[in-house]
Each structure stands twice: as structure tokens, then as C-alpha cells.
């Protein structure tokens, strides 16, 4: 009995050593950048009175959340008593070439809503609609009044199945606050 036990013991130890302590090491870790990322929002402003007058305002955090601070973080500078047509664009600049996420938002426009609010003297209205005639917000019209400073918040909400036009609903995909000067 004792020799049987000894054999079993040796076999057992060998098994443990082979399977356990020499098990293959995983040297092929996955890259640590996410597959899908929104790094950049660009607002392209066009002066409605003079369409040659265009400029862009950008927030870009090209390495994604955390890590380095946002590389570009512009302010919005507008003139008093003007109307601007504004178009929003989302990009993933962590990949080369950069990916245009706006196209994917447009594809699922019934589940998405851009919202804009400002503490400066601007009246912002949405000019595009989704398939259910609810606002979408990729295209907007900004009417400025008197000189002022404040913050303008741009939000993109993902509202699968619950979109009513209310910006409070859903999960936030984008939320950027731009310092805004009207002069």
C-alpha cells in the first residue's frame, strides 16, 4: 500500500509541476486603447450674412479619457447681433486616418440628440430632425444679441428607445463646456 501511495504521490507531484508551474505565460496582451473612442468635437461656424466667413472651434483629447490633458480646447468667440449656422462633427483621432463618428450618429439619429445651452447671450435652435420629426442637433442656428461672456455646453445623449426631444434623458456620450465670448 505504501509503495502504491508513493507512486501516486510522485505522479501527482509531476502532474502538478507540469501543468501548473510551467504553464505557458501569456505574452500577448491586447493593446490598451479602446476599439471605439470619440476624441474630438469640432463646431464649424458659418456667418449667415457672409458665408465666406467660417471658422471652427475644437475640443480634442486624442489619447482618450485620462492620460494626457486635452490637446486642443478652444473658446468660442462670436460677434454681437449675428446669426451663425453651426455644424457639429465628432472624430476618433486616436486612429489613423481619423474616423468620422458623426456618420454613425446620423445612422442612428432616432436614438441620439445633441443639446446646446449657454449662459452667454445666444439663442441656439436645432435645425435638423430625425425620422420621427424630433430634433437631432447636428445642424443648429445660433443668434447672438448683446456683448457677454459665459459657458456654452454641448451634449450628445444616447437615448435608445426613449427619445422624446428631452435632453435630460439617456446616457451622455459627449459633454463639453466651451468658454464663450460675445463682443
Amino acid at each position: 500500500m505504501k509503495t502504491t501511495f508513493k507512486k501516486l504521490f510522485l505522479g501527482f507531484t509531476a502532474l502538478a509541476l507540469v501543468t501548473g508551474f510551467s504553464a505557458c505565460k501569456d505574452d500577448n496582451p491586447a493593446p490598451e486603447n479602446p476599439e471605439e473612442l470619440i476624441t474630438t468635437i469640432k463646431l464649424t461656424f458659418t456667418d449667415s450674412a457672409n458665408t465666406a466667413n467660417t471658422f471652427t472651434v475644437t475640443f480634442a483629447d486624442t489619447d482618450g479619457p485620462g492620460g494626457n490633458a486635452p490637446a486642443t480646447y478652444d473658446s468660442i468667440a462670436l460677434q454681437t447681433n449675428k446669426t451663425y449656422l453651426v455644424s457639429a462633427q465628432l472624430l476618433n483621432e486616436s486612429v489613423n486616418p481619423a474616423e468620422d463618428i458623426t456618420l454613425e450618429v446620423e445612422e442612428e439619429k432616432d436614438d441620439h440628440l445633441f443639446g446646446y445651452s449657454s449662459t452667454a447671450n445666444i439663442n441656439i435652435t436645432t435645425t435638423d430632425l430625425d425620422n420621427n420629426n424630433l430634433p437631432l442637433g447636428i445642424q443648429t442656428k445660433w443668434k447672438t444679441t448683446t456683448a457677454s461672456v459665459g459657458n456654452t455646453t454641448v451634449v450628445l445623449k444616447h437615448q435608445p428607445g426613449i427619445k422624446t426631444g428631452d435632453i435630460a434623458l439617456g446616457e451622455t456620450d459627449v459633454e463639453v463646456v466651451f468658454y464663450t465670448v460675445i463682443q
Binding site: M1, T4, F5, L8, F9, F12, T13, L15, A16, T19, G20, F21, A23, K25, D26, D27, P29, A30, P31, E32, N33, P34, E35, E36, I38, T39, T40, I41, F59, D61, G64, P65, G66, A69, P70, E99, I101, E104, V105, E107, E108, K157, H158, P160, I162, A168, L169, G170, E171, T172, D173, V174, E175, V176
Partner: protein
């Protein structure tokens, strides 16, 4: 003050206690090795100096007993003496399993009606076995464990619960599943242990020197979950359990059968269970996507010949849990909005069993090979190899925007952890001296896919331990010492380059204790002091990412050293006629406690600002007091109270730690009716459970202030239907009977929703085949 009135009431009840001294205590004594009924076993009741012998069928009887607590001593030639304390208030039948001369740590298996204390007097271990488990089964493992003093749960809604012992959870407690140390993704607050509660015959919580055997990191304690021993020489038997719950329309079923064959040298057990629940309802609304399902299977096969025994075991645990949609948060603004709305977004009034995004899925495999060799009558050798694989997948609420990515329907997080362990233990037990010692080795590797949260790693652990116990008359001294070395190698791919930093942690751990039984008759005292440590987890070192469910950015720190704890505890236990009293105090001091703390400023991302939490290491202490009392007011009526108070303090910030359990108080009454023919052991139990608001923590330290105090009323009615030769256990219960609206501080969903409303359940336990 209110507390004092409760106490006074209890003592008043004791004073009017009318004694009825015609209780019968009957039972059966069997041999743990082969299940044989033991004749001529001697049983004695210490307090009464009464004695009885077992008949040829192993049965014995004591009659004309008054209600009370008695110490029973059981002796049989060739077996180790067994003693335990039992409280009797009615005719009671118990099963005693006598271990052979060797002490088998948990195989001193006493089954009775009340909580019985397997160790001297519940000084370093609390066991809940068999029949006491019946009313608890069907729920999560956490729900079942809550029966032990000091155990609470860290919840994520109603369906995910992690056990917490005296404020410690996750990697600070050790869970032993059928002798195998559970290695899951325990670092996450919403990661529940992957164990089927239906497998348990005994669940124990260990605090003392013996805990050293299971690892250096059992700072809060060790939970062991054990099935019954395999029935060598036994006959065919089994149990079927059925349970139904009203709130989330959950159904649960489990089945287990066992037998021996091949001249009784072989024995097997197969076991499986399945649970499926629909959406959870609070008193006011239902929670969209809170359904769950869980399916488990296990099989064990053993061979025993003379002094040699070999056992194999394999199990599969598989769960899919829907996470309430309203608790999946985009950023700080969303979170504040969720907190400020009285009714959450995404409520429902349908009882749907469908599980959509977000959800989590965990599959856990365990395989075990164990060999035991009885060297001689006093010693034995044990070898064990085990392998586990844990695969956890987490799915966010929304699929990726990109169509081709969305079509893959990949989890946003995937963690896959494989662990192999080898243990070699030698045990010796003779004439009051008990010694055990051994080696344990562990190899672990983890990989991930999806969004980065923790890196790939390999870890190796080597430990050596020795435990000694010496009993002299009424005094028992115990000491345990252990030394562990842990290697950790990280593997990361950053900008196309693999980097592999490596770490090594090594430290001793130790524990000494003394117990004094019958200091005055019925009074037992236990004292214990220990040194424990734990290497930092990979998540504490390396996590760096967004936790969408928690709307938090979590950042680790690679400079952490091992966490060391100095612990001390004292237990006083008093058992006399009609009264049982227990108080346990614990104090733990850490000089290097690793804690997740909020930092400013929040991390700014394109999706807005995220509250940011950093792991920090510093001094902390945990103080807890658990107090319980039970009094037999009359022959039928017993009153009891169970209370847990805890203070967790951060010495660096000079504030109480966020996330520590609030003080809890329980008051209950149990009324036992007389048997009527087939209607056996009927009882009704009513418990009021009061949880205080967590007033210790700073109101502003968290996103929202701790929720208000609340009181829940639970009721339970049970009996055994004796139909022909079957004893079918039936329990009808209701938790949160008054459908009280509340939120609990230890529930991670407290920001978003109320907790579960009234839940009525029916549980049926059907044993079949040969019944012990």
C-alpha cells in the same frame, strides 16, 4: 436607550418563564468514515450528569429534560470524543457524526435544530448546517451567509451580493468552496462569489488560528462551504429542493443524489441547481432589465481502501445577471440627475425574464483531485490539486456606434482567470495535542479583452504553515504561523511594445489564541491575536479606466507595498438553561490599508467630467462588536436579538471610511407548536431588523448622503410533513412583509433606486432514499 428597554423586556420574559420539563432529546450516532450506525456509543449531558448508550441501530434517547442549553459529550471506542452544545426547547432529534480518532477539521458534523457551535463554544468558528440552511436556500450565497454574526453583504441591486465579515470584503476574506480556495475576480464590488449555495451541507465562518491554513490574507475571516462527506458504505439517498419567490417571480430547483458501490469502497454524488428570476420590483415600481438566471452542476467520485482515500470533484457555475438600466451612467451630470429624480428612468411594470444590455455573465469551472492517507491512528497526510477557470464578461448598456463592431456583440470587458493550486498537509492528533503543517502552491494567470481596466498578469504563490493546538482540562491554547512569497508579473502592450514589470511580496503571518471553557459553568471565553497580510491586487496597482456602471475614473498606484494587519479579538459566550448569550469584539489595525479615495479635480473627458478615485495606502482601523442573546420565555416561545456594530476609521484623513456597514439590530420571536401526527415541528418566526443610517461618514464624502435608517419585518412559518417514511420540509416566508420603501448604504444601487419590496417565498425540501 431603546436598546436597554429591549434588554429589559427580554429579561422580564425570562423571569416569567414557566418550565415544562418533559422534553425528549433523541438522536442517532454514525461513523463519519463509512456511515455505519454506532452501537454502544456513550452520551453524557455534562450539566445534568445524565448518561445514555446507543442501541444497535445507533439511536439514543434522553427524556424529562427542561428547556435549556446542554453540553453533550459523545464517546465511542476508536473515535475521537465529540462535544457540543445544544439548546433544546422542544422534543429534538439530532444526528451525530463521530469522526475517527483523527480530527477532521470540519467533519465533526453536528446537525440539530438550533445554531450549534462546533468548536468549543463558537469561540473561533460559527457553523450553520443542514436543516438551519433550509430556510435560507434559494437566494444568493450572500443571503445564506448573513445568518452568521458579523456577516453582511455588499449588494449591487437585489441579485448581486458579496459577503462582508465585520466590514471586510473582497480580497480581505477567503472563501473555501469544498476545500478549494475560490479564485474569482474578487476585486470588483459588483463581482459576487461564484458558488452554488445549494451544494452546502455546512457553512462555517472561521476567525482563529486555524484560518492561517487557508492563506495569509484571511484578514476578515474564512468562509468554508462544504458538502456532506461522501457516503462510503452508504445507501442511495438524495435531496430535491424547490423554491418560488413572488417579488421577481423567481423559481429555483436543486437536485442531489449519492450512493456507494463496489463493496462500499466507491462513493459518488451528483448535484445540480437552476434559478431563474424576472424583473425585481420595489414597492413603487419595477426595475427594467433586472432579471437573472443561474445554472450549476457538480459531480464527486471517491475511492476508499483501508487507509487510503482518493476523491475527485468537478463543478460548473454559470450565471447571467441583468443590470438595471437606470443604474448605467454616462458621467457626473447623469449621475446627479439620477440621484435627484425620485423615480428612476427605465422603470417597468412587466415581469419579464428577458436579460438585455447591460448585463454580466460569469462562468466558473472547478476541478479537484484529493488524496488522503492515514499514516497511523493519530496522523494522516493530505494532498490536493485543484484547477479553476473564471471567465467574466460585462456588457455595457449600449452597443458600439460602429456597425461592424456592434455586429460582433463583444463584451466591453472580458476577464479570464485560471488558477492552479497544490496543497500538501500533514495532520497529527493525539491526547489533547493537535498539530498540522503543510505547503501550498498557487499559479495564476489572467488575461483581458475589450476595454482596458486591469492588465494581463501571472502570479505565483508559495506558502508554508504550521498550526498547533494543546488542550489541557478546560483550557485550550492554539498557535498558527505561516510564511508566503508571492511573485507577480504584469504584461502590457503600450504603443506596440510589451512591458513586463515584476513584483515580489513576502511576509510572515501568525495567530495565537486561548480558550477557557466553563470558567463558571456555561461561561466560555476566547482570546485571539494575529498578524495578517495581503499583497496588493492587480486592480489596486494598475487599474486605470472608466467604470461606467459607477461613473467613476479609477486609478491604481504601482508603488504599493503589502497591506499588513494586526488583529485582536475576544469572545464571551454563556449558555445556561433557557438562555444563550454571545458577545464578540474585534479590533484590526492596518499600517498600510489600501483604500479607494475620491480626488480632485475630476478627470475631464469629451464625455464630461468624471469623479476620480485613487487607491491610497495609509493607516486604518476596524472595530466591531457583535452581540446576540436568546431566551426561552416559555416552552414554546423563544425571544432573540442579534446586533452588529462597526466602526471603520481612516487614520490618515481622520475620517470614518466610506463604505463601512451601518450598525444593525435585530429582534425576533419564535413560537414552536406541538407536533400533530404528520405535522411535525411547526414554528413561526417573526424578526424585526433595524439598520441605522450610516451616520459615521461625512455627508459630503460621497455623491449623496447615506440613506435613512429603516426597519424591515420578516416572517417565516415552517414545518416538516411526515408522510410515510418521508420528512418533507416546507417553509413559507415573507421578507419585507410591510413592503417598506428603503435604500441600504451597502447597496451600490442606492443612488438610483429603492430596494426590493415584499417577497413571499415557498420552499420545499424533499429528502429521499436512506435517511440518516
Amino acid at each position: 436607550m431603546r436598546y436597554f428597554i429591549i434588554l429589559l423586556l427580554l429579561f422580564a420574559a425570562l423571569a416569567v418563564n414557566a418550565q415544562n420539563c418533559n422534553i425528549k432529546l433523541t438522536g442517532t450516532v454514525t461513523d463519519s468514515h463509512d456511515g455505519e450506525k454506532l452501537e454502544f456509543a456513550t452520551l453524557g449531558i455534562l450539566q445534568l450528569q445524565k448518561q445514555a448508550f446507543t442501541k444497535s441501530d445507533g439511536t439514543f434517547e434522553f427524556s424529562n429534560l427542561c428547556p435549556g442549553s446542554y453540553t453533550i459529550i459523545c464517546r465511542h471506542l476508536g473515535c475521537k470524543d465529540t462535544s457540543f452544545t445544544i439548546s433544546v426547547s422542544e422534543n429534538t432529534n439530532i444526528a451525530i457524526v463521530m469522526p475517527h480518532k483523527l480530527n477532521q477539521l470540519k467533519e465533526v458534523d453536528v446537525k440539530g435544530e438550533k445554531t450549534n457551535y462546533a468548536d468549543a463554544a463558537g469561540l473561533s468558528v460559527i457553523s450553520v448546517s443542514n436543516q438551519q440552511l433550509q430556510p435560507l436556500l434559494g437566494g444568493t450565497l450572500g443571503d445564506v451567509l448573513k445568518v452568521a454574526p458579523g456577516v453582511t453583504t455588499l449588494q449591487t441591486g437585489a441579485t448581486i451580493a458579496k459577503p462582508m465579515i465585520n466590514g471586510f470584503t473582497g480580497n480581505r476574506i477567503v472563501i473555501m468552496n469544498n476545500g478549494v480556495r475560490l479564485e474569482g475576480q474578487q476585486w470588483g464590488g459588483e463581482h459576487a462569489p461564484e458558488i452554488d449555495p445549494y451544494i452546502a451541507n455546512t457553512i462555517s465562518v472561521w476567525y482563529g488560528a486555524k484560518a492561517v491554513r487557508y492563506g495569509p490574507d484571511a484578514i476578515g475571516g474564512v468562509i468554508t462551504i462544504d458538502p456532506a462527506t461522501l457516503p462510503y458504505n452508504g445507501k442511495f439517498s438524495g435531496i430535491a429542493n424547490l423554491a418560488g419567490f413572488s417579488n421577481n417571480r423567481m423559481g429555483a430547483a436543486s437536485f442531489q443524489m449519492q450512493n456507494s458501490f463496489g463493496k462500499g469502497r466507491w462513493a459518488y454524488r451528483v448535484q445540480g441547481s437552476y434559478r431563474k428570476g424576472a424583473n425585481v420590483f420595489t414597492p413603487a415600481y419595477g426595475l427594467d432589465n433586472s432579471a437573472m438566471r443561474e445554472g450549476n452542476f457538480s459531480a464527486a467520485l471517491g475511492y476508499k481502501y483501508k487507509r487510503f482515500k482518493v476523491e475527485t470533484y468537478a463543478s460548473r457555475f454559470d450565471t447571467k445577471i441583468g443590470l438595471f438600466k437606470g443604474a448605467h451612467i454616462g458621467n457626473l451630470t447623469d449621475l446627479l440627475q439620477a440621484i435627484n429624480s425620485t423615480t428612476p428612468f427605465y422603470t417597468t411594470n412587466t415581469h419579464s425574464y428577458a436579460i438585455g444590455r447591460p448585463y454580466q455573465q460569469a462562468v466558473h469551472y472547478t476541478g479537484k483531485l484529493k488524496m488522503v492517507y492515514d499514516v497511523d491512528d493519530d496522523s494522516r497526510l493530505l494532498l490536493q490539486y485543484a484547477i479553476q477557470n473564471n471567465r467574466r464578461q460585462e456588457y455595457d448598456r449600449d452597443k458600439p456606434l460602429n456597425d461592424s463592431l456592434a455586429a460582433l456583440n463583444n463584451p466591453e470587458f472580458l476577464f479570464d482567470l485560471t488558477t492552479q493550486t497544490v496543497d500538501a498537509v500533514y495532520e497529527f492528533n493525539s491526547k489533547g495535542v493537535e498539530i498540522s503543517g503543510g505547503l501550498s502552491g498557487m499559479y495564476q494567470s489572467n488575461y483581458w479583452q475589450g476595454r482596458y481596466f486591469i492588465p494581463n498578469f501571472n502570479a505565483q504563490n508559495l506558502g508554508v504553515f504550521a498550526i498547533g493546538e494543546y488542550t489541557f482540562k478546560k483550557v485550550k491554547l492554539e498557535a498558527g504561523i505561516r510564511y508566503d512569497v508571492r511573485f507577480l508579473e504584469i504584461s502590457r502592450l503600450i504603443k506596440g511594445k510589451v512591458i513586463s514589470p515584476a513584483y515580489r511580496y513576502q511576509n510572515p503571518s501568525a495567530n495565537i489564541g486561548a480558550t477557557f471553557t466553563d470558567v463558571v459553568p456555561g461561561l466560555n471565553i476566547g482570546l485571539n491575536a494575529g498578524l495578517a497580510w495581503r499583497p496588493p491586487t492587480v486592480s489596486e496597482l494598475y487599474s486605470n479606466g472608466l467604470h461606467h456602471g459607477a461613473a467613476a475614473f479609477e486609478i491604481g498606484d504601482t508603488s504599493f507595498t503589502a497591506e499588513k494587519a494586526y488583529t485582536g479579538s475576544a469572545v464571551v459566550n454563556y449558555q445556561a438553561e433557557g438562555i444563550e448569550f454571545r458577545v464578540m469584539g474585534n479590533y484590526s489595525y492596518f499600517d498600510s490599508y489600501i483604500n479607494l479615495e475620491p480626488v480632485l479635480p475630476p478627470t475631464l473627458t469629451i464625455a464630461g467630467a468624471f469623479p476620480t478615485f485613487k487607491y491610497r495606502q495609509g493607516a486604518a482601523s476596524f472595530t466591531s462588536i457583535n452581540f446576540s442573546l436568546s431566551v426561552n420565555a416559555t416552552k414554546q416561545l423563544s425571544l432573540f436579538t442579534r446586533n452588529a456594530l462597526i466602526w471603520a476609521y481612516n487614520h490618515t484623513t481622520r475620517q470614518y471610511l466610506i463604505g463601512g456597514p451601518a450598525h444593525r439590530f435585530q429582534l425576533g420571536a419564535r413560537y414552536s407548536f406541538a407536533d400533530k401526527k404528520w405535522f411535525e415541528k411547526p414554528y413561526i418566526e417573526l424578526v424585526g431588523a433595524h439598520t441605522l443610517r450610516q451616520y459615521l461618514v461625512d455627508e459630503n464624502a460621497d455623491y449623496t448622503a447615506p440613506p435613512a435608517s429603516y426597519t424591515l419585518l420578516n416572517v417565516e412559518f415552517g414545518f416538516t410533513a411526515h408522510i410515510r417514511n418521508s420528512h418533507i420540509g416546507i417553509i413559507l416566508a415573507a421578507s419585507n412583509l410591510l413592503n417598506t420603501k428603503y435604500r441600504d448604504y451597502l447597496d451600490r444601487f442606492r443612488y438610483y433606486t429603492d430596494a426590493m419590496g415584499r417577497n413571499v417565498s415557498l420552499k420545499i425540501n424533499i429528502p429521499f432514499g436512506e435517511i440518516k
